[in-house]
Symmetry: C2
């Protein structure tokens, strides 16, 4: 280990309590970007991250956007060395259902070596490892071996609507050789991983409007279309009984898994019974002809994320509801086009909507899937760094989630992204009782510190 890395590692060890306390401070800010009632909390979280970068020794500022602000930071005093751009997000998913949390979602309570909070792993805790690794280099060695830039946004959970414009307007300032994101997961406890593929996404909301108000189901039942019945029938058409999506052309551009990938996936340790048990379900489900890992990582989906219409209170109420709404997302794989598929989804829904009902269709963010270069020098550096931080060579995996910015970085900055996940899939991200391992937090911070060294040497 180089003398510098010895100093950095020692600093991280001595300051581990402070690192954790600062993370708790960030997690206690309820920066829910989807909920306009939390606007000031989101702004406070940006301020917190900016202050941390300044304290680490970076230059940093809060950049206002049409939505929530972006925190930009940099330390660029290593001329000739490569430049890494760290991306992360300080906004979080809504915490509900609140009654299922053991401790309050913004209390950042520590239990059994885990820190519990909405955003603990997605993405405040993972993002924060890079802030602390840079602090470690700058506060111990006094410099970094490469140039590091930070773009930490507040709209990842609502579609990153203002990030493109930010990057376009600052493409020179954001210029880099590689991007680094920690917003994925290790393969399993004790099996660190680098993620080389992500699914894309399209998202929408569909509402069927029927009578102008809720009607008595006895007096009027049987004479007009019921929007909830119709929505159920419409959404029920999305899959056939073998789990295959029925939108015409949906699979046209799907890049099939290679034989090598299927072999690699099959070689990964995967205890399906334990997986299902951890989720509380008795059986897997999905498109026939693919393994569970294949379906999660490399096959598209169409999931209803929420549905509501009519009476939802206690007891019965005999009405024909005036309307019914569903929120839908499809996960996409290479080379499915979000724009094409959201149009095909809308067309499919409109084609099957019963006459007499009005269909309202609302689109949200979309992004294509990505596959990264497995053989770049940056990928090799990342493998070394993760091995140093976690004491084990990472496996190379794909992931079912979407990180739209990876595609954005490729398109706007011309760089690949290193997806270095420190969390676990069992961390309950987007669910009640989200948590992040404190050990993973510290190991991830150490791996990040190593990454700056490995990227400098790999040049």
């Amino acid at each position: 280990m180089s003398h510098s890395m010895q100093q950095v590692a020692a600093w991280l060890e001595q300051n581990s309590a402070k690192s954790l306390a600062d993370l708790q401070g960030l997690l206690r800010i309820p920066s829910v970007s989807a909920d306009s009632r939390h606007r000031s909390d989101v702004a406070n979280a940006a301020r917190f991250v900016c202050d941390q970068l300044l304290a680490a020794g970076c230059e940093a500022e809060i950049v206002e956007t049409a939505g929530h602000p972006i925190v930009y930071g940099e330390w660029t005093k290593a001329p000739g060395a490569p430049t890494a751009l760290v991306y992360g997000h300080y906004d979080v998913q809504p915490p509900d259902p609140l009654d299922q949390w053991v401790s309050s979602p913004f209390s950042a309570e520590i239990r059994d070596g885990q820190i519990y909070a909405r955003g603990a792993t997605d993405d405040k805790g993972q993002m924060f490892t890079h802030v602390r690794s840079v602090a470690a280099w700058l506060q111990s060695v006094g410099s970094l071996p490469i140039n590091v830039k930070f773009v930490i946004e507040g709209e990842e959970e609502v579609g990153s609507n203002n990030l493109d414009l930010f990057l376009k307007e600052r493409s020179a300032r954001c210029a880099c050789d590689v991007a680094v994101i920690s917003d994925t997961a290790q393969y399993a406890p004790g099996i660190p991983a680098i993620t080389y593929g992500l699914r894309g996404i399209i998202a929408c909301e569909v509402t069927l409007h029927g009578p102008k108000q809720d009607l008595h189901s006895g007096v009027f039942g049987g004479s007009i279309a019921n929007p909830v019945n119709a929505l159920a029938k419409l959404l029920g058409r999305l899959h056939d009984d073998s789990g295959r999506i029925q939108i015409p052309g949906f699979y046209d551009d799907v890049v099939e898994l290679t034989a090598e990938e299927r072999k690699n996936f099959a070689a990964l340790p995967f205890d399906e019974a334990a997986y299902l048990k951890s989720l509380g379900v008795s059986q897997p489900w999905g498109e026939q002809g693919f393994s569970t890992l294949e379906r999660r990582w490399a096959r598209p989906t169409c999931d209803i994320n929420g549905i509501f219409g009519g009476y939802t209170g206690e007891g019965p109420k005999t009405i024909i509801p005036a309307q019914a709404t569903a929120k839908l997302t499809c996960r996409l794989v290479p080379d499915q086009s979000p724009d094409l598929l959201i149009a095909r989804l809308e067309e499919f829904l409109r084609a099957h909507c019963p006459s007499g009902l009005r269909l309202e269709f609302k689109k949200w963010h979309g992004c294509p899937a990505v596959l990264c270069d497995l053989h770049s020098p940056y990928m090799q550096a990342a493998r070394q760094a993760v091995a140093r931080g976690f004491g084990k060579t990472p496996v190379m995996i794909r992931e079912g989630g979407s990180i739209p910015v990876v595609e954005t970085f490729k398109r706007l900055l011309g760089v690949d992204t290193l997806l270095l996940g420190w969390g676990q899939n069992t961390d309950n991200l987007h669910s009640p009782n989200e948590h992040f391992s404190i050990d993973a937090f510290h190991r991830g911070t150490l791996a990040s510190a190593w990454l700056w060294q490995e990227l400098a040497q790999g040049r």
Copy 2:
């Protein structure tokens, strides 16, 4: 007109403002039986009705049950004369969606000759006409020409669960020759009606349980069944594309309309375009081969009254929900059996529930459809009375709603029921801005006063 009826009619005229003010007092009590938070309001409404009966000159008491109380009243000082039993209910449907009411649902505001309140027509306003007609006889003439009993319950909107026991335990006290209920509607404005048939009902709630908590739709999507997708598909199977219910055996016991009934229905004035416009829909919908009136009055239905699952807040949320729930009611026609059909519905849902999900099925109240004797002397008396009150001979119709107690009276007391509706189908019962015509309220009260005389003479 007899001297007695002259006195009664004059009294009603002189006391019309008091009748209306007392009705407003009753309507201002939010007696929502389905919502446990309104328990004391329900009790207050019972007290109010009991006090009104006492003030009218009846004996009356509040009888506690395992649920909400029943108000029993009687005036039985006409030995040898027939006995009529008036049934009504002082409980109301939940008022939501609250934001769609022009005036608060329990303010009983009067606008343009209508009184607006939850329960205005269903059933406080209609039921109260009989209380006032009895008051008129007793306060003007000093006696009634027949015996009258009142059973006014507080659980009609939640299944009348304690009424059977009440009637069984008091079958001698409740003994009567005919029952009278005003909880239906006139055929149309200016076309008074007597309803000789009602649909029955079954009601249930179905919940599909999937993962033990909401899951990230990217990380887990495609690997397990989504309860909302599955519920949509399941409920979508309830009807085929021609509106026919797909539950096996559902239509087995349906008594088809007679040629005469179809002819009578077709002869009624019915402006389908105006009907649809009043509901805010562009087209009718339902089982093919039947007219809209036939589908509403004499064909069974299966309506989803409410559905909910997953994220229902602002913006997108990328989850696989842990569960999804729907509330369903089927309207039944003679001779469909509620017990048999609720079992067939549950069986159908369980048969099509995807493996890997747990189906929870909750049953509520059910009741069979009824058809009353068109040719009884009581029916003739009622025709005369309605003609006197409204100045026009009533048409004989069926109705799509359910009044379970009609079947109960037949079974437990051995009597037919006169269904004398003073309201209109456009009174928004079970919907926002429920209202009742003040003119109909007064005419209904006069018709009720005539009914006691006609029943006495018809003997």
